[in-house]
């Protein structure tokens, strides 16, 4: 505990150098912009900016990229509240009560409470990261290949259960990702697999191309296909002095903010697109606890405060599994993992002890970044909201241009651009037919890791499958997986039998 504090102080001295402060600020601003812009979320946004960090040291790079992630959570609420269009997926739920508040002329307090909640949730969650990550990292050494394999199996099933509406569709997307992940050199024998003699495919499918394709180009196409008025409606931008919430607002939101913090922190620690799930969980909780549940959907401030707090809290705690196990639990942390690998840093149980400066400087920058974002978002919301006035015939081509140049600068490869555009087309079709992109992207990143862990376990055990059941941590994850798979099935059976009982009676 005390040791963590000492390290954290060291981290602050590193995070407050002019350069790192500048990158923290830049990340916060870019994140807010990405959050505000519908059609460009943190996944595509971070993937796009990875090449911009090539000249930086890994610490500054991660400070900026992490800033984009949590910055986007601040920005996302703006469009939800003002024009009923979520800036990114973690702000979908904010539309319900946020837009209703705006309709009743209370856009200002809605925006302000989002920013305040985000700040409180984010900061408390970073405290958790500060004091929990180091002891957890030591415990994580107990994770060998068998444990990692079972954990990832568990992660996939949970992820598929919680994303989107259809378990089958989510599992299908995960399988597509797993198959794409087998392309390239075999991790155990070094043979080329599914490359069809192409040198380009030898290194596997470039995940940045998939990320920008599905989450960037795909979104642009979806937006371009929408009728113009959806995006270009009148924006009700509140004036600065209308921003202050009343004492009454604050009182009513405090409970929601604190509960949202707890919900978000917990959700960030388990597999899944944490910020998105956290918002749903928090909204449901607030509605259930409220003495006036009928207010929800008609501009209840708790319905804005809770979810907007929860998504920020989840964003910060999602860094714990990334830093401690080296396993990303959601699509955004998967992209951040890729960025770290490009910079020669392999996250895992040794990250904190081998790269203490990186870890503590990034953690310290998160405290600073959240503070910057609070300052940035309270007075400047009207300014950021003005981006929404840019007509989409200008905005979309601009984002498209950014995607293409950004993609090229990752590997200086024209083929990558074609790959990205192909995944863009796929992403558009996926959105149209309601297939989630997150399981595909995560499976592409985790699939090869899972395959290696599986084959390593069997190599170590000389082919004995019992290794997965005999090791306690591995067994627990497998049992939990089984439970997750059986619950929906059992529920269906239960429902069917009750129906029969009712009809028979």
């Amino acid at each position: 505990m005390l040791e963590s504090l000492q390290y954290l102080i060291g981290g602050f001295s590193l995070a407050t150098t002019t350069q790192n402060l500048a990158y923290c600020l830049l990340g916060a601003i870019v994140g807010t912009l990405i959050g505000v812009l519908p059609g460009l979320g943190p996944i595509a946004g971070i993937a796009l900016l990875i090449p911009a960090t090539f000249g930086l040291n890994p610490t500054s790079a991660l400070i900026m990229l992490a800033g984009i992630y949590y910055g986007a959570m601040y920005g996302g609420s703006t469009t939800s509240i003002l024009i009923n269009v979520p800036g990114e997926t973690a702000s979908v739920i904010t539309c319900i009560d946020g837009y209703q508040m705006a309709q009743r002329g209370r856009a200002g307090p809605a925006l302000a409470i989002s920013a305040i909640g985000s700040f409180i949730g984010g900061t408390i969650s970073i405290f958790g990261l500060t004091f929990l990550a180091p002891p957890l990292a030591e415990a994580a050494l107990a994770f060998g290949p068998a444990e990692f394999f079972s954990l990832m199996v568990f992660g996939f099933v949970v992820l598929s259960n919680v994303t989107g509406t259809s378990l089958i569709k989510a599992l299908m997307m995960a399988v597509v990702g797993l198959i794409l992940g087998t392309i390239g050199l075999d991790p155990v024998t070094g043979d080329a697999r599914f490359t069809f003699g192409s040198t380009y495919l030898l290194g596997g499918i470039e995940f940045v191309a998939v990320a920008i394709g599905i989450f960037g180009i795909g979104e642009i196409l979806v937006n371009a296909a929408k009728p113009a008025e959806v995006l270009e409606q009148r924006v009700l931008v509140p004036r600065f002095r209308e921003l202050y919430p009343s004492l009454q607002d604050l009182k009513r939101s405090m409970g929601a903010i604190l509960r949202g913090t707890g919900v978000g922190f917990g959700v960030g620690l388990v597999p899944g697109p944490a910020p998105v799930i956290a918002t749903y969980a928090s909204y449901m909780l607030e509605k259930r606890l409220s003495k006036h549940p009928e207010e929800f959907g008609k501009g209840a401030i708790q319905g804005v405060a809770g979810p907007e707090t929860a998504n920020n809290s989840a964003t910060q705690s999602a860094f714990i599994p990334l830093f401690v196990l080296g396993i990303p639990f959601g699509p955004v942390t998967a992209i951040l993992l890729g960025a770290l690998l490009i910079h020669g840093v392999t996250p895992g149980p040794l990250l904190i002890s081998e790269h203490p400066q990186l870890f503590w400087a990034v953690v310290a920058s998160m405290y600073i970044g959240n503070f910057i974002l609070l300052l940035l978002n309270l007075p400047f919301v009207p300014l950021f909201a003005n981006i929404l006035r840019v007509p989409k015939k200008i905005l979309l081509p601009l984002v498209m241009f950014l995607c293409i140049t950004g993609m090229y600068s990752v590997n200086n490869s024209i083929l990558d651009i074609w790959l990205m555009l192909s995944f863009g087309a796929l992403g558009y079709l996926m959105r149209k037919w309601a297939y989630e992109g997150a399981p595909l992207l995560l499976a592409l990143v985790l699939g090869p890791k899972m395959e290696v862990a599986f084959r390593q376990s069997l190599m170590i055990s000389h082919g004995d499958f019992g290794v997965f059941l005999l090791r306690p941590i591995s067994l627990i994850f497998l049992l939990a997986t089984l439970m997750f798979l059986l619950i929906p099935a059992l529920r269906a059976v239960f429902k069917a039998s009750r129906k029969r009982a009712v009809s028979e009676a």
């Binding site: 090539f54 890994p58 050494l141 107990a142 994770f143 060998g144 290949p145 390239g184 050199l185 075999d186 991790p187 155990v188 024998t189 070094g190 043979d191 080329a192 490359t195 003699g197 040198t199 380009y200 495919l201 030898l202 290194g203 470039e206 080296g326 490009i342 910079h343 020669g344 392999t346 895992g348 149980p349 040794l350 081998e354 590997n411 200086n412 490869s413 090869p448 890791k449 290696v452 390593q456 190599m459 170590i460 000389h462």
Partner: protein
């Protein structure tokens, strides 16, 4: 007016194309090093530093271009196809002599002219400090009595340290159980967690933990002892006739004029001796090991043959 400018530009361009550039004037523009790996990796860091310190000796800027992909094959293929005029170079590192055996590549080391070798990192096996094997003899005795029972992690199947561990077990007459990981970091993590018995690594991997007393170097494959660990004997000193390491050097496409190659070699050799670069290399804990073009060519040929045999063996 416009057409006159066009004509002038066209004339200049055609003159530039038509006129053979005498080698005496090399270089007339910046020299490019293709790095077939992503920015920020060990190879990238070493050659970026070398490029920066060589520019002043060459008289023109040396720029680095990353062309990752295909486990390095994409960038190497592009360099092979570049004009052999000395303006496009490529980093030649150990996998150049491994990859062509694993898969159908358009190139082998023979498609390049060696310029010089820059780095040679020793390979080694490390075990946990609390492992029962204190010496190489104890380690090998156990391995002989229990073939296939000692698990040895490596940084990737068919990668340098995997093949080196395979070559070592042959030289020592033992069999290990080789476990591939996605990089040196994860294999060292698994060793520290007690999930495997040993790792095959090249510095800086595992070195901080050796210094911290958590890991022990049980078998060192370099010719000389390491400066950081003067008490750790090499395996050759202990009766196993075996040395192997991983190298990183520079090469130009085949057909580069000899005088141009020589100019490049001289400049990069000076760049290697530059105090700024020497300090950079020490900070990155890489071992500088200059080799002249002829010696570098011999090393590549020798490793090409060695790795060819080893790759055939894992494919069986």
């Amino acid at each position: 007016m416009g057409s006159r400018i066009c004509a002038a530009v066209f004339l200049t361009l055609s003159l530039a194309v038509a006129m053979p550039v005498p080698a005496a004037e090399f270089p007339t523009k910046e020299v490019q090093i293709i790095i077939p790996y992503a920015a920020g990796g060990a190879t990238d860091l070493v050659f970026r530093a070398l490029a920066a310190s060589t520019s002043k000796y060459l008289g023109k800027a040396v720029v680095v271009v990353n062309k990752p992909g295909g486990a390095g094959a994409v960038g190497v293929t592009e360099a092979m196809q570049a004009r052999p005029d000395g303006y496009t170079l490529v980093t030649a590192i150990t996998p150049l002599t491994i990859l062509p055996h694993q898969t159908k590549t358009a190139f082998t080391y023979r498609d390049f002219e060696p310029i010089l070798n820059v780095v040679q990192d020793p390979a080694m096996l490390q075990v946990r400090a609390d492992s029962p094997w204190k010496t190489l003899r104890e380690f090998l005795d156990y391995a002989k009595k229990n073939p296939g029972m000692i698990t040895v992690g490596n940084s990737g199947a068919g990668g340098g340290v995997h093949l080196i561990a395979l070559a070592f077990e042959k030289a020592a007459g033992v069999t290990f159980n080789h476990i591939p990981f996605a990089g040196g970091g994860p294999s060292v993590t698994a060793l520290l967690g007690g999930h495997i018995h040993a790792v095959s690594v090249s510095p800086p991997e595992g070195i901080p933990h050796v210094k911290a007393g958590k890991l022990r170097i049980i078998a060192l494959f370099s010719e000389k002892r390491m400066a950081d660990f003067p008490d750790v004997p090499t395996v050759r000193e202990q009766g196993v006739n075996f040395t192997m390491g991983q190298w990183r050097g520079l090469a130009a496409p085949k057909g580069t004029p000899p005088d141009v190659s020589k100019k490049l070699h001289d400049a990069f050799k000076q760049g290697m001796a530059d105090p700024a670069f020497v300090k950079n290399a020490a900070d990155m804990s890489v071992t500088l090991a200059y080799l002249a073009p002829a010696d570098f060519a011999t090393l590549m040929a020798q490793d090409h043959e060695r790795y060819g045999k080893l790759v055939q063996e894992i494919k069986k």
